[in-house]
Symmetry: C2
Subunit: 279 residues, 2 copies
Amino acid sequence: FEWGEALDLKRVEEKLSSGDYKAFTVEHVDTSTGIANPVDKVGELAKDTDALYIVDSVCGVGGMPLKMDEWNIDFCLTGSQKAVGAPPGISMFCLNEKAWNVVESRKTPVADYYANLKRWKPIMDNPRGYFATPAVGMVLGMTEALRIIHEEGLEARWRRHEVLSDAFRAGLGALGLEQFPAEGSEAHTLSVPKIPESVSDSDMRGLMRIKYGVIIAGGLGKLGGKTVRVGHMGNATSNDIVATMSALEMSLMELGYEMEPGAGVGAAEEVLVTLRVEA
Amino acid sequence: FEWGEALDLKRVEEKLSSGDYKAFTVEHVDTSTGIANPVDKVGELAKDTDALYIVDSVCGVGGMPLKMDEWNIDFCLTGSQKAVGAPPGISMFCLNEKAWNVVESRKTPVADYYANLKRWKPIMDNPRGYFATPAVGMVLGMTEALRIIHEEGLEARWRRHEVLSDAFRAGLGALGLEQFPAEGSEAHTLSVPKIPESVSDSDMRGLMRIKYGVIIAGGLGKLGGKTVRVGHMGNATSNDIVATMSALEMSLMELGYEMEPGAGVGAAEEVLVTLRVEA
Protein backbone atom coordinates (compact mmCIF):
# COMPACT_ATOMS: atom_id res chain seq x y z
CA PHE A 1 0.00 0.00 0.00
CA GLU A 2 1.13 3.56 -0.64
CA TRP A 3 2.60 5.62 2.20
CA GLY A 4 -0.11 7.92 3.48
CA GLU A 5 -2.96 5.67 2.35
CA ALA A 6 -4.88 3.22 4.51
CA LEU A 7 -4.84 -0.43 3.45
CA ASP A 8 -6.96 -1.40 0.46
CA LEU A 9 -9.81 -3.59 1.68
CA LYS A 10 -10.30 -5.17 -1.75
CA ARG A 11 -6.72 -6.42 -1.93
CA VAL A 12 -6.96 -7.79 1.61
CA GLU A 13 -10.19 -9.57 0.68
CA GLU A 14 -8.64 -11.07 -2.46
CA LYS A 15 -5.59 -12.35 -0.61
CA LEU A 16 -7.60 -13.79 2.27
CA SER A 17 -10.03 -15.57 -0.04
CA SER A 18 -7.17 -17.64 -1.44
CA GLY A 19 -6.99 -19.46 1.90
CA ASP A 20 -3.19 -19.52 1.59
CA TYR A 21 -2.46 -17.74 4.85
CA LYS A 22 -1.99 -18.90 8.42
CA ALA A 23 -2.01 -15.40 9.82
CA PHE A 24 -2.14 -11.79 8.69
CA THR A 25 -1.20 -8.66 10.57
CA VAL A 26 -2.61 -5.16 10.39
CA GLU A 27 -1.13 -2.09 11.99
CA HIS A 28 -3.91 -0.14 13.65
CA VAL A 29 -2.12 3.21 13.71
CA ASP A 30 1.02 3.84 11.72
CA THR A 31 3.23 6.34 13.49
CA SER A 32 5.35 7.10 10.43
CA THR A 33 2.48 8.31 8.29
CA GLY A 34 -0.28 9.12 10.78
CA ILE A 35 -2.63 6.64 9.09
CA ALA A 36 -5.26 4.64 10.98
CA ASN A 37 -6.27 1.44 9.23
CA PRO A 38 -9.92 0.27 9.21
CA VAL A 39 -9.33 -2.62 11.60
CA ASP A 40 -13.09 -2.88 12.08
CA LYS A 41 -13.77 -3.44 8.38
CA VAL A 42 -10.86 -5.88 8.06
CA GLY A 43 -12.53 -7.71 10.93
CA GLU A 44 -15.56 -8.26 8.70
CA LEU A 45 -13.30 -9.98 6.18
CA ALA A 46 -11.57 -11.94 8.94
CA LYS A 47 -14.83 -13.56 9.95
CA ASP A 48 -14.69 -16.20 7.22
CA THR A 49 -11.02 -17.13 7.28
CA ASP A 50 -9.02 -19.59 9.34
CA ALA A 51 -6.02 -17.28 9.28
CA LEU A 52 -5.23 -15.51 12.54
CA TYR A 53 -6.09 -11.82 12.50
CA ILE A 54 -3.27 -10.08 14.35
CA VAL A 55 -3.45 -6.35 15.13
CA ASP A 56 -0.53 -4.16 16.17
CA SER A 57 -2.32 -1.44 18.08
CA VAL A 58 0.72 0.03 19.81
CA CYS A 59 -0.40 3.54 18.98
CA GLY A 60 -4.13 2.80 19.07
CA VAL A 61 -5.26 1.05 22.27
CA GLY A 62 -6.49 3.61 24.76
CA GLY A 63 -6.79 6.34 22.11
CA MET A 64 -8.96 4.89 19.36
CA PRO A 65 -11.79 2.38 19.40
CA LEU A 66 -10.60 -1.22 19.35
CA LYS A 67 -13.06 -4.05 19.93
CA MET A 68 -11.29 -7.39 19.79
CA ASP A 69 -14.30 -9.70 19.93
CA GLU A 70 -16.66 -7.61 17.82
CA TRP A 71 -14.01 -7.14 15.13
CA ASN A 72 -12.84 -10.77 15.12
CA ILE A 73 -9.30 -9.88 16.19
CA ASP A 74 -7.48 -13.01 17.37
CA PHE A 75 -4.32 -11.47 18.72
CA CYS A 76 -3.77 -7.84 19.65
CA LEU A 77 -0.58 -6.20 20.89
CA THR A 78 0.15 -2.81 22.38
CA GLY A 79 2.70 -0.99 24.51
CA SER A 80 2.46 0.95 27.74
CA GLN A 81 3.98 4.17 26.47
CA LYS A 82 1.54 5.41 23.86
CA ALA A 83 -2.19 6.08 24.22
CA VAL A 84 -2.38 4.01 27.41
CA GLY A 85 -0.34 6.75 29.07
CA ALA A 86 2.07 4.70 31.21
CA PRO A 87 5.89 4.88 31.15
CA PRO A 88 7.62 2.93 28.36
CA GLY A 89 8.75 -0.59 29.15
CA ILE A 90 5.75 -2.91 29.07
CA SER A 91 4.40 -4.83 26.08
CA MET A 92 0.85 -6.07 26.40
CA PHE A 93 -1.08 -8.53 24.36
CA CYS A 94 -4.41 -10.25 24.36
CA LEU A 95 -5.34 -13.38 22.47
CA ASN A 96 -8.52 -15.37 22.04
CA GLU A 97 -9.21 -19.10 22.15
CA LYS A 98 -8.51 -19.49 18.42
CA ALA A 99 -5.07 -17.91 18.78
CA TRP A 100 -4.32 -19.90 21.92
CA ASN A 101 -5.11 -23.14 20.10
CA VAL A 102 -2.52 -22.20 17.50
CA VAL A 103 0.02 -21.59 20.27
CA GLU A 104 -0.80 -24.96 21.82
CA SER A 105 -0.64 -26.93 18.61
CA ARG A 106 2.46 -25.56 16.96
CA LYS A 107 4.91 -28.25 15.93
CA THR A 108 8.18 -26.33 15.84
CA PRO A 109 9.20 -25.29 19.33
CA VAL A 110 9.56 -21.58 20.12
CA ALA A 111 13.28 -20.78 20.04
CA ASP A 112 13.10 -17.88 22.43
CA TYR A 113 12.69 -18.33 26.17
CA TYR A 114 10.75 -15.25 27.24
CA ALA A 115 8.68 -14.88 24.06
CA ASN A 116 7.25 -18.37 24.55
CA LEU A 117 3.64 -17.87 25.62
CA LYS A 118 3.42 -21.39 27.00
CA ARG A 119 5.95 -20.43 29.64
CA TRP A 120 3.83 -17.44 30.61
CA LYS A 121 0.55 -19.37 30.76
CA PRO A 122 0.92 -20.66 34.35
CA ILE A 123 1.66 -17.10 35.51
CA MET A 124 -1.25 -15.65 33.57
CA ASP A 125 -3.45 -18.26 35.25
CA ASN A 126 -1.97 -17.58 38.68
CA PRO A 127 0.00 -14.34 39.04
CA ARG A 128 1.31 -15.48 42.42
CA GLY A 129 3.49 -18.03 40.64
CA TYR A 130 7.05 -17.36 39.58
CA PHE A 131 8.48 -17.32 36.07
CA ALA A 132 10.91 -14.42 36.16
CA THR A 133 11.33 -11.35 38.35
CA PRO A 134 8.81 -8.84 36.98
CA ALA A 135 9.57 -5.15 36.58
CA VAL A 136 7.51 -4.39 39.68
CA GLY A 137 7.72 -0.60 39.42
CA MET A 138 6.61 -0.71 35.79
CA VAL A 139 3.66 -2.93 36.62
CA LEU A 140 2.55 -0.58 39.40
CA GLY A 141 2.85 2.40 37.02
CA MET A 142 0.84 0.49 34.44
CA THR A 143 -1.84 -0.34 36.99
CA GLU A 144 -2.17 3.34 37.85
CA ALA A 145 -2.46 4.20 34.15
CA LEU A 146 -5.26 1.65 33.79
CA ARG A 147 -6.99 3.17 36.82
CA ILE A 148 -6.83 6.59 35.17
CA ILE A 149 -8.34 5.10 31.99
CA HIS A 150 -11.07 3.43 34.01
CA GLU A 151 -11.87 6.71 35.75
CA GLU A 152 -12.12 8.65 32.50
CA GLY A 153 -14.09 5.88 30.81
CA LEU A 154 -12.92 4.25 27.60
CA GLU A 155 -15.62 5.80 25.39
CA ALA A 156 -14.95 9.27 26.80
CA ARG A 157 -11.24 8.73 26.24
CA TRP A 158 -11.76 7.77 22.62
CA ARG A 159 -13.96 10.88 22.16
CA ARG A 160 -11.33 13.11 23.76
CA HIS A 161 -8.65 11.77 21.43
CA GLU A 162 -10.91 12.40 18.44
CA VAL A 163 -11.68 15.98 19.49
CA LEU A 164 -8.03 16.81 20.26
CA SER A 165 -7.04 15.32 16.93
CA ASP A 166 -9.74 17.19 14.99
CA ALA A 167 -8.76 20.40 16.77
CA PHE A 168 -5.08 20.03 15.96
CA ARG A 169 -5.82 19.28 12.32
CA ALA A 170 -8.17 22.24 12.11
CA GLY A 171 -5.36 24.43 13.41
CA LEU A 172 -2.91 23.04 10.90
CA GLY A 173 -5.42 23.70 8.11
CA ALA A 174 -5.87 27.30 9.23
CA LEU A 175 -2.09 27.76 8.97
CA GLY A 176 -2.20 26.39 5.44
CA LEU A 177 -0.30 23.23 6.28
CA GLU A 178 -1.20 20.08 4.38
CA GLN A 179 -1.65 16.71 6.08
CA PHE A 180 0.34 13.71 4.97
CA PRO A 181 -2.26 11.00 5.75
CA ALA A 182 -5.14 10.64 3.30
CA GLU A 183 -8.33 12.43 4.36
CA GLY A 184 -10.60 10.20 6.36
CA SER A 185 -7.79 7.86 7.39
CA GLU A 186 -6.12 10.11 9.96
CA ALA A 187 -5.20 8.56 13.29
CA HIS A 188 -6.59 10.26 16.38
CA THR A 189 -3.40 9.75 18.35
CA LEU A 190 -0.98 11.79 16.26
CA SER A 191 -0.93 14.26 13.37
CA VAL A 192 1.55 14.24 10.52
CA PRO A 193 1.55 17.60 8.73
CA LYS A 194 3.82 18.47 5.84
CA ILE A 195 6.31 21.26 6.51
CA PRO A 196 6.12 24.30 4.21
CA GLU A 197 8.90 24.13 1.59
CA SER A 198 10.26 27.51 2.68
CA VAL A 199 10.84 26.28 6.23
CA SER A 200 13.71 24.12 7.54
CA ASP A 201 12.51 21.12 9.55
CA SER A 202 15.36 21.20 12.03
CA ASP A 203 15.14 24.97 12.53
CA MET A 204 11.43 24.74 13.21
CA ARG A 205 11.65 21.83 15.63
CA GLY A 206 14.73 23.35 17.23
CA LEU A 207 12.94 26.63 17.92
CA MET A 208 9.88 24.84 19.27
CA ARG A 209 12.01 22.78 21.61
CA ILE A 210 14.53 25.33 22.81
CA LYS A 211 12.38 28.45 22.95
CA TYR A 212 8.99 27.02 23.84
CA GLY A 213 9.79 23.67 25.43
CA VAL A 214 7.63 21.68 23.01
CA ILE A 215 9.15 18.56 21.49
CA ILE A 216 7.67 17.12 18.33
CA ALA A 217 9.19 14.31 16.28
CA GLY A 218 10.74 14.41 12.82
CA GLY A 219 9.51 12.44 9.83
CA LEU A 220 10.70 8.86 9.44
CA GLY A 221 12.41 7.29 6.44
CA LYS A 222 11.68 9.05 3.20
CA LEU A 223 9.44 11.53 5.04
CA GLY A 224 12.44 12.88 6.98
CA GLY A 225 12.65 16.66 6.69
CA LYS A 226 9.30 16.79 4.87
CA THR A 227 6.84 15.97 7.61
CA VAL A 228 6.73 16.15 11.39
CA ARG A 229 4.92 13.90 13.83
CA VAL A 230 2.92 15.47 16.63
CA GLY A 231 1.63 13.05 19.25
CA HIS A 232 -1.58 13.96 21.07
CA MET A 233 -2.33 10.78 22.94
CA GLY A 234 -2.50 9.29 26.37
CA ASN A 235 -3.43 11.89 28.95
CA ALA A 236 -2.97 14.91 26.66
CA THR A 237 -5.30 17.84 27.34
CA SER A 238 -6.66 20.78 25.36
CA ASN A 239 -3.88 22.85 26.94
CA ASP A 240 -1.30 20.61 25.30
CA ILE A 241 -2.97 21.11 21.92
CA VAL A 242 -3.06 24.90 22.35
CA ALA A 243 0.52 25.14 23.63
CA THR A 244 1.84 22.98 20.82
CA MET A 245 -0.10 24.83 18.14
CA SER A 246 1.06 28.15 19.54
CA ALA A 247 4.72 27.04 19.66
CA LEU A 248 4.36 25.90 16.06
CA GLU A 249 2.86 29.25 15.04
CA MET A 250 5.55 31.31 16.75
CA SER A 251 8.34 29.19 15.29
CA LEU A 252 6.89 29.40 11.77
CA MET A 253 6.47 33.16 12.22
CA GLU A 254 10.09 33.60 13.29
CA LEU A 255 11.21 31.57 10.28
CA GLY A 256 9.43 33.95 7.90
CA TYR A 257 6.42 31.80 7.06
CA GLU A 258 3.46 34.03 6.24
CA MET A 259 0.53 33.47 8.52
CA GLU A 260 -2.01 35.16 10.70
CA PRO A 261 -0.73 34.94 14.33
CA GLY A 262 -3.26 32.96 16.36
CA ALA A 263 -5.10 31.56 13.34
CA GLY A 264 -4.12 27.96 14.13
CA VAL A 265 -4.91 28.27 17.81
CA GLY A 266 -8.22 29.95 17.01
CA ALA A 267 -9.30 27.19 14.65
CA ALA A 268 -8.27 24.58 17.22
CA GLU A 269 -10.26 26.38 19.92
CA GLU A 270 -13.43 26.20 17.86
CA VAL A 271 -13.16 22.42 17.94
CA LEU A 272 -11.86 22.14 21.50
CA VAL A 273 -14.91 23.89 22.96
CA THR A 274 -16.98 20.91 21.81
CA LEU A 275 -15.13 18.69 24.35
CA ARG A 276 -17.74 17.48 26.78
CA VAL A 277 -16.62 17.04 30.35
CA GLU A 278 -18.61 15.27 33.06
CA ALA A 279 -19.48 17.79 35.76
CA PHE B 1 27.04 -31.25 41.37
CA GLU B 2 25.34 -31.73 44.73
CA TRP B 3 22.97 -29.04 46.02
CA GLY B 4 24.84 -26.99 48.57
CA GLU B 5 28.27 -27.73 47.08
CA ALA B 6 30.22 -25.49 44.73
CA LEU B 7 31.14 -26.91 41.33
CA ASP B 8 33.95 -29.47 41.21
CA LEU B 9 36.91 -27.91 39.42
CA LYS B 10 38.36 -31.29 38.48
CA ARG B 11 35.23 -32.36 36.63
CA VAL B 12 35.07 -29.04 34.80
CA GLU B 13 38.72 -29.43 33.80
CA GLU B 14 38.14 -32.97 32.53
CA LYS B 15 35.13 -31.94 30.44
CA LEU B 16 36.83 -28.88 28.99
CA SER B 17 39.95 -30.78 28.06
CA SER B 18 37.90 -32.97 25.70
CA GLY B 19 37.49 -29.94 23.43
CA ASP B 20 33.92 -31.07 22.72
CA TYR B 21 32.23 -27.87 23.85
CA LYS B 22 31.35 -24.63 22.12
CA ALA B 23 30.35 -22.91 25.32
CA PHE B 24 29.93 -23.61 29.01
CA THR B 25 28.03 -21.65 31.62
CA VAL B 26 28.68 -21.16 35.30
CA GLU B 27 26.31 -19.60 37.79
CA HIS B 28 28.27 -17.18 39.96
CA VAL B 29 25.83 -17.15 42.86
CA ASP B 30 23.06 -19.69 43.18
CA THR B 31 20.08 -18.15 44.96
CA SER B 32 18.47 -21.51 45.76
CA THR B 33 21.37 -22.84 47.78
CA GLY B 34 23.38 -19.74 48.70
CA ILE B 35 26.47 -21.16 46.98
CA ALA B 36 29.06 -18.98 45.25
CA ASN B 37 31.03 -20.81 42.58
CA PRO B 38 34.78 -20.17 42.12
CA VAL B 39 34.38 -18.29 38.82
CA ASP B 40 37.95 -17.04 39.19
CA LYS B 41 39.39 -20.55 39.33
CA VAL B 42 37.18 -21.74 36.47
CA GLY B 43 38.63 -18.79 34.56
CA GLU B 44 42.08 -20.35 34.90
CA LEU B 45 40.74 -23.48 33.20
CA ALA B 46 38.96 -21.38 30.57
CA LYS B 47 42.25 -19.87 29.44
CA ASP B 48 43.18 -22.82 27.25
CA THR B 49 39.84 -23.65 25.65
CA ASP B 50 38.06 -22.32 22.59
CA ALA B 51 34.70 -22.78 24.31
CA LEU B 52 32.96 -19.59 25.40
CA TYR B 53 33.02 -19.07 29.16
CA ILE B 54 29.60 -17.68 30.08
CA VAL B 55 28.85 -16.50 33.61
CA ASP B 56 25.38 -15.88 35.05
CA SER B 57 26.18 -13.35 37.75
CA VAL B 58 22.62 -12.16 38.37
CA CYS B 59 23.12 -12.35 42.11
CA GLY B 60 26.84 -11.55 42.04
CA VAL B 61 27.69 -8.40 40.08
CA GLY B 62 27.88 -5.44 42.46
CA GLY B 63 28.08 -7.65 45.54
CA MET B 64 30.97 -10.03 44.93
CA PRO B 65 34.22 -9.65 43.01
CA LEU B 66 33.86 -10.34 39.30
CA LYS B 67 36.68 -9.55 36.92
CA MET B 68 35.71 -10.41 33.38
CA ASP B 69 39.04 -9.86 31.66
CA GLU B 70 41.27 -11.18 34.43
CA TRP B 71 39.14 -14.32 34.80
CA ASN B 72 38.79 -14.95 31.04
CA ILE B 73 35.00 -14.58 31.10
CA ASP B 74 33.69 -14.17 27.56
CA PHE B 75 30.08 -13.37 28.28
CA CYS B 76 28.61 -12.20 31.57
CA LEU B 77 24.97 -11.50 32.40
CA THR B 78 23.29 -9.84 35.33
CA GLY B 79 20.07 -8.11 36.34
CA SER B 80 19.28 -4.72 37.79
CA GLN B 81 17.38 -5.94 40.83
CA LYS B 82 19.96 -7.83 42.87
CA ALA B 83 23.33 -6.62 44.15
CA VAL B 84 23.35 -3.69 41.71
CA GLY B 85 20.50 -2.23 43.75
CA ALA B 86 18.22 -0.88 41.01
CA PRO B 87 14.53 -1.72 40.48
CA PRO B 88 13.80 -5.01 38.69
CA GLY B 89 13.31 -4.84 34.94
CA ILE B 90 16.68 -4.53 33.26
CA SER B 91 18.95 -7.34 32.09
CA MET B 92 22.54 -6.43 31.46
CA PHE B 93 25.30 -8.26 29.74
CA CYS B 94 28.86 -7.74 28.67
CA LEU B 95 30.77 -9.70 26.07
CA ASN B 96 34.32 -9.65 24.78
CA GLU B 97 35.74 -9.79 21.27
CA LYS B 98 35.85 -13.60 21.30
CA ALA B 99 32.13 -13.83 22.13
CA TRP B 100 31.24 -11.14 19.62
CA ASN B 101 33.02 -13.06 16.88
CA VAL B 102 30.82 -16.05 17.69
CA VAL B 103 27.73 -13.83 17.41
CA GLU B 104 28.94 -12.50 14.07
CA SER B 105 29.82 -15.85 12.57
CA ARG B 106 26.86 -17.99 13.57
CA LYS B 107 25.28 -19.77 10.64
CA THR B 108 21.74 -20.34 11.90
CA PRO B 109 19.89 -17.05 12.24
CA VAL B 110 18.60 -16.00 15.67
CA ALA B 111 14.87 -16.76 15.76
CA ASP B 112 14.00 -14.09 18.28
CA TYR B 113 13.80 -10.42 17.40
CA TYR B 114 14.83 -8.66 20.59
CA ALA B 115 17.32 -11.27 21.79
CA ASN B 116 19.34 -10.86 18.60
CA LEU B 117 22.50 -9.02 19.60
CA LYS B 118 23.20 -7.98 16.03
CA ARG B 119 20.08 -5.84 16.11
CA TRP B 120 21.31 -4.15 19.26
CA LYS B 121 24.83 -3.52 17.98
CA PRO B 122 24.10 -0.24 16.13
CA ILE B 123 22.41 1.10 19.28
CA MET B 124 25.27 -0.02 21.51
CA ASP B 125 27.62 1.80 19.14
CA ASN B 126 25.43 4.90 19.04
CA PRO B 127 22.79 5.16 21.76
CA ARG B 128 21.16 8.08 19.91
CA GLY B 129 19.92 5.62 17.29
CA TYR B 130 16.55 3.91 17.44
CA PHE B 131 15.81 0.21 17.73
CA ALA B 132 12.85 0.09 20.09
CA THR B 133 11.39 2.45 22.69
CA PRO B 134 13.53 1.89 25.78
CA ALA B 135 12.08 1.74 29.28
CA VAL B 136 13.33 5.26 29.95
CA GLY B 137 12.39 5.35 33.64
CA MET B 138 14.14 2.04 34.26
CA VAL B 139 17.28 3.24 32.51
CA LEU B 140 17.34 6.42 34.61
CA GLY B 141 16.87 4.36 37.79
CA MET B 142 19.67 2.08 36.70
CA THR B 143 21.95 5.05 35.99
CA GLU B 144 21.32 6.34 39.50
CA ALA B 145 22.12 2.89 40.94
CA LEU B 146 25.41 2.87 39.03
CA ARG B 147 26.17 6.34 40.38
CA ILE B 148 25.62 5.06 43.91
CA ILE B 149 27.98 2.14 43.21
CA HIS B 150 30.57 4.51 41.79
CA GLU B 151 30.32 6.71 44.87
CA GLU B 152 30.78 3.81 47.27
CA GLY B 153 33.56 2.29 45.17
CA LEU B 154 33.37 -1.25 43.85
CA GLU B 155 36.05 -2.65 46.18
CA ALA B 156 34.40 -1.05 49.22
CA ARG B 157 31.07 -2.45 48.08
CA TRP B 158 32.46 -5.95 47.78
CA ARG B 159 34.00 -5.60 51.26
CA ARG B 160 30.70 -4.37 52.72
CA HIS B 161 28.86 -7.36 51.28
CA GLU B 162 31.44 -9.69 52.73
CA VAL B 163 31.24 -8.15 56.21
CA LEU B 164 27.42 -8.09 56.21
CA SER B 165 27.40 -11.69 55.10
CA ASP B 166 29.96 -12.79 57.69
CA ALA B 167 28.00 -10.94 60.35
CA PHE B 168 24.71 -12.56 59.43
CA ARG B 169 26.26 -16.01 59.37
CA ALA B 170 27.94 -15.38 62.73
CA GLY B 171 24.53 -14.49 64.14
CA LEU B 172 22.94 -17.62 62.71
CA GLY B 173 25.73 -19.69 64.22
CA ALA B 174 25.19 -18.12 67.62
CA LEU B 175 21.52 -19.15 67.41
CA GLY B 176 22.58 -22.69 66.63
CA LEU B 177 21.27 -22.62 63.08
CA GLU B 178 23.15 -24.63 60.47
CA GLN B 179 23.98 -23.24 57.04
CA PHE B 180 22.91 -25.05 53.91
CA PRO B 181 25.84 -24.02 51.65
CA ALA B 182 29.13 -25.81 52.20
CA GLU B 183 31.60 -23.92 54.36
CA GLY B 184 33.89 -21.72 52.32
CA SER B 185 31.48 -21.60 49.36
CA GLU B 186 28.93 -19.21 50.86
CA ALA B 187 27.74 -16.33 48.70
CA HIS B 188 28.13 -12.85 50.16
CA THR B 189 24.81 -11.67 48.79
CA LEU B 190 22.46 -14.01 50.63
CA SER B 191 22.43 -16.56 53.45
CA VAL B 192 20.58 -19.86 53.36
CA PRO B 193 20.21 -21.24 56.90
CA LYS B 194 18.38 -24.44 57.74
CA ILE B 195 15.30 -24.02 59.92
CA PRO B 196 15.28 -25.88 63.25
CA GLU B 197 13.14 -29.03 62.95
CA SER B 198 10.92 -27.91 65.82
CA VAL B 199 9.95 -24.71 63.98
CA SER B 200 7.42 -24.30 61.17
CA ASP B 201 8.82 -22.42 58.20
CA SER B 202 5.60 -20.61 57.37
CA ASP B 203 4.91 -19.66 61.00
CA MET B 204 8.40 -18.24 61.37
CA ARG B 205 8.34 -16.25 58.14
CA GLY B 206 4.75 -15.17 58.80
CA LEU B 207 5.66 -13.78 62.21
CA MET B 208 8.72 -12.02 60.86
CA ARG B 209 6.67 -10.40 58.12
CA ILE B 210 3.49 -9.50 59.97
CA LYS B 211 4.87 -8.59 63.37
CA TYR B 212 8.28 -7.14 62.48
CA GLY B 213 7.90 -6.13 58.82
CA VAL B 214 10.86 -8.23 57.67
CA ILE B 215 10.33 -10.36 54.57
CA ILE B 216 12.64 -13.27 53.91
CA ALA B 217 12.16 -15.88 51.18
CA GLY B 218 11.30 -19.55 51.50
CA GLY B 219 13.45 -22.40 50.26
CA LEU B 220 13.15 -23.42 46.60
CA GLY B 221 12.40 -26.85 45.21
CA LYS B 222 13.34 -29.68 47.53
CA LEU B 223 14.62 -27.14 50.08
CA GLY B 224 11.10 -25.73 50.55
CA GLY B 225 10.15 -25.68 54.24
CA LYS B 226 13.67 -26.72 55.24
CA THR B 227 15.69 -23.62 54.50
CA VAL B 228 15.05 -19.91 54.15
CA ARG B 229 16.81 -17.40 51.93
CA VAL B 230 17.87 -14.09 53.41
CA GLY B 231 19.12 -11.52 50.93
CA HIS B 232 21.68 -8.98 52.14
CA MET B 233 22.71 -7.33 48.93
CA GLY B 234 22.53 -4.11 47.00
CA ASN B 235 22.40 -1.14 49.32
CA ALA B 236 21.76 -3.15 52.51
CA THR B 237 23.25 -1.67 55.69
CA SER B 238 24.31 -3.00 59.07
CA ASN B 239 20.91 -1.84 60.35
CA ASP B 240 19.21 -4.23 57.93
CA ILE B 241 21.32 -7.09 59.23
CA VAL B 242 20.56 -6.25 62.86
CA ALA B 243 16.83 -5.75 62.24
CA THR B 244 16.54 -9.00 60.30
CA MET B 245 18.52 -10.99 62.85
CA SER B 246 16.44 -9.53 65.67
CA ALA B 247 13.14 -10.30 63.89
CA LEU B 248 14.40 -13.84 63.39
CA GLU B 249 15.32 -14.14 67.06
CA MET B 250 11.98 -12.84 68.31
CA SER B 251 10.04 -15.08 65.96
CA LEU B 252 12.04 -18.17 66.95
CA MET B 253 11.57 -17.23 70.61
CA GLU B 254 7.82 -16.93 70.20
CA LEU B 255 7.74 -20.31 68.48
CA GLY B 256 9.38 -21.98 71.45
CA TYR B 257 12.87 -22.38 70.04
CA GLU B 258 15.40 -22.29 72.87
CA MET B 259 17.91 -19.52 72.54
CA GLU B 260 19.59 -16.68 74.35
CA PRO B 261 17.73 -13.46 73.36
CA GLY B 262 20.17 -11.16 71.58
CA ALA B 263 22.79 -13.85 71.02
CA GLY B 264 22.47 -13.69 67.25
CA VAL B 265 22.47 -9.90 67.13
CA GLY B 266 25.43 -9.81 69.49
CA ALA B 267 27.48 -12.16 67.35
CA ALA B 268 26.58 -10.16 64.26
CA GLU B 269 27.60 -6.91 65.98
CA GLU B 270 31.06 -8.26 66.69
CA VAL B 271 31.59 -8.64 62.98
CA LEU B 272 29.72 -5.49 61.91
CA VAL B 273 32.02 -3.25 63.97
CA THR B 274 34.85 -4.24 61.63
CA LEU B 275 33.07 -2.39 58.77
CA ARG B 276 35.36 0.39 57.71
CA VAL B 277 33.71 3.59 56.55
CA GLU B 278 35.48 6.44 54.81
CA ALA B 279 35.28 9.55 56.98
